[in-house]
């Protein structure tokens, strides 16, 4: 289920980032910053943790991954293509007229996408429903759900956060891509989430905080779930918005701006040199 390409996680993460830059740049689309912050997390999840078969996207016992931060769709499409769900060339159609690859995660005609997202706060409740269904049916499926930090402003996230530990859903894993910047500013200035890990702990989750750009640390965590039997797992991944491209890192502007022209060239050359 994993191929050779994916066993090299830094390489996979780099390729995801390169795809994201090309896709958003060509499309003049927003949200490159939050895609780059998620790239290492996605590489580790798809490269090492997730049990899936791109030939059988409907395999009932598969693990599910839900990208609840739907605006970071370019990173998900990239990792799905890298994982064999559809040809890499299709990424070139991103955001173009008539393409299935929309500017938020959409499931129609995109194999491997479990849930269309784009309005924040939807992924975790749906993931929770999938987790409880798997438990009740005695299936081995685990449900991974990535949410953004700004998304933690949504009440529905906390409705699910309350529910899952009560029902001992240890097949549910939430990954918070904590890149510290949301739509209109720094998370700390908009609505401070800290202490974020403590909040999840207080709700009954088994929590690990880690550097979301150390793929091997992420790999270790996502392959060791559940962290505690009988509890859902939460990974608070400290990340950097725009990670991997110097001029984008920690810049709110790159929640919106697309890397076009010279910006794209510079981004790709920086990514090419990184390891």
């Amino acid at each position: 289920m994993t191929n050779e390409k994916q066993t090299n996680l830094p390489e996979l993460a780099k390729r995801i980032r390169q795809h994201c830059v090309r896709m958003t740049g060509k499309a003049n689309a927003s949200h490159i910053g939050g895609a780059l912050s998620a790239a290492d997390l996605l590489a580790a999840i798809y490269g090492k943790a997730l049990r899936y078969d791109p030939q059988r996207p409907d395999w009932p016992d598969r693990d599910r991954f839900i990208m609840s931060k739907g605006h970071a769709c370019s990173a998900l499409y990239a990792v799905l293509a890298e994982s064999g769900y559809f040809p890499l060339e299709r990424l070139e159609t991103f955001y173009q007229n008539g393409s299935p690859l929309a500017g938020h995660v959409m499931h129609k005609n995109v194999p491997g996408v479990e849930l269309s997202t784009g309005s924040l706060g939807h992924g975790l409740p749906v993931a929770t429903g999938m987790a409880i269904a798997a438990k009740r049916d005695g299936r081995p499926s685990r449900i991974f759900c990535m949410i953004s930090d700004g998304e933690c402003d949504e009440g529905s996230v906390w409705e699910a956060a309350l529910f899952a530990p009560h029902h001992k859903l240890d097949n549910l894993i939430v990954i918070v891509d904590y890149n510290k910047i949301q739509s209109l500013g720094a998370v700390k200035e908009v609505i401070d989430l800290d202490p974020l890990a403590d909040k999840w702990r207080a709700f009954g989750w088994a929590v690990r905080e880690l550097n979301g750009h150390d793929v091997h640390v992420v790999e270790e965590a996502v392959t060791q779930v559940p962290f505690e039997p009988g509890r859902p797992s939460c990974i608070v991944a400290h990340t950097v918005k725009g990670k991997g491209v110097s001029y984008m890192e920690n810049k709110l502007l790159w929640h919106y701006r697309a890397p076009m022209g010279d910006d794209m060239t510079k981004a790709l050359s920086e990514l090419d040199g990184c390891e």
Binding site: H107, G129, M130, A131, I132, S156
Partner: protein
């Protein structure tokens, strides 16, 4: 209707373990047998309708037939975008069940008046909208929505409504039930107001007006054939609903009539104005306040018919 629904669902769930009933911490005394005897098919989401609806979608996408159950506007308006994106867009096999359509909870105040739900739910792509007229229809509707693969909204009344259908009915989603045949006027009813509409038809009949009466239990997809047949075969059409006249049954019927070729039929919507009711009280009291008793409906119909007739006379001069 509530009792008919839960009894029927309980029987169906015993036969089909895919059925899961998810409640929003409501249904005291109603869902207890289900909860106790089918615990693996029951879930209390707590007071959290967004999560309830999202979870239902997640369970449905994992092969379940998931029902969300709450009262009044809670399983519909409170979590509307979850219904739209998670349920409808994914064509998830979720049945949204609301108890307390219209003024069932009239005394509880405006928060509990569910009088825009049909309009709002009808606007969502791919959602079948069903408002049965009595316990017999509620039971049949429960069977029908479970058998149907896809998102449905089932709008129920309360417990203990009188049975309107004294003989067995043929129930099919999207197909109106004809309760009475007459050539003068067609009354089209949806939801629990059916009893009052039957009463109105009886009163009008006494005045010599021949009534056709349709129970339009499915508002979407609408039985357009039945509407057009009524327009061709009778002299006037009235819709009656315990719901705003904006967007509900009346609007659905009006849309069909307005676009139909060569149809010109007097038409009136009887329902609630687009306003918060200034009243609170029992369902019967609320119906009195809003002109929705059998007598009031009959009066409105008769008066509208007189206007139409005098208009026709003037045209004739």
């Amino acid at each position: 209707m509530r009792t008919a629904f839960i009894k029927e669902l309980f029987e169906l769930a015993k036969q089909d373990e895919r059925i899961v009933l998810i409640v929003g911490d409501l249904g005291f005394g109603v869902v207890t047998p289900f909860m106790e005897q089918l615990p693996k098919q029951f879930l209390n989401a707590g007071v959290a309708e967004q999560n309830m609806t999202g979870m239902a979608a997640g369970m449905a996408l994992s092969g379940k037939i998931a029902l969300t159950y709450s009262i009044a506007n809670f399983p519909t308006l409170r979590c509307l975008e979850h219904v739209r994106n998670d349920v409808c867009y994914h064509n998830a096999n979720v049945k949204i069940v609301s108890v307390g359509g219209g003024f069932t909870y009239g005394a509880m105040g405006a928060t509990h008046h569910a009088v825009e739900d049909i309009a709002v739910m009808r606007a969502l792509p791919g959602l079948v909208v069903v408002a049965p007229g009595d316990p017999v229809e509620a039971r049949a509707a429960t069977r029908a929505v479970i058998a149907y693969h896809g998102p449905c909204y089932l709008r129920l009344g309360k417990a203990g409504e009188p049975v309107v259908h004294q003989s067995p009915i043929e129930f099919e989603l999207g197909k109106a039930i004809r309760l009475r045949e007459g050539k003068d006027v067609t009354l089209i009813s949806t939801g629990g107001i059916l009893l009052n509409v039957v009463r109105a038809a009886e009163l009008l009949q006494k005045e010599g007006i021949q009534m056709r009466l349709l129970s339009m239990h499915t508002v979407k997809p609408l039985d357009t054939e039945a509407v057009l047949a009524a327009a061709r075969e009778t002299e006037a059409i009235f819709t009656i609903e315990e719901h705003s006249i904006l967007g509900g049954l009346g609007s659905a019927v009006a849309e069909v009539l307005a676009e139909a070729d060569g149809i010109k039929v007097p038409f009136k919507r009887i329902g609630l104005p687009s306003a918060f009711s200034p009243h609170i009280g029992s369902q019967e009291y609320m119906q009195e306040c809003h002109g929705l008793t059998g007598e009031a409906i009959a009066k409105t119909v008769a008066s509208a018919l007189r206007t139409v007739t005098s208009g026709l006379v003037r045209e004739g001069q």
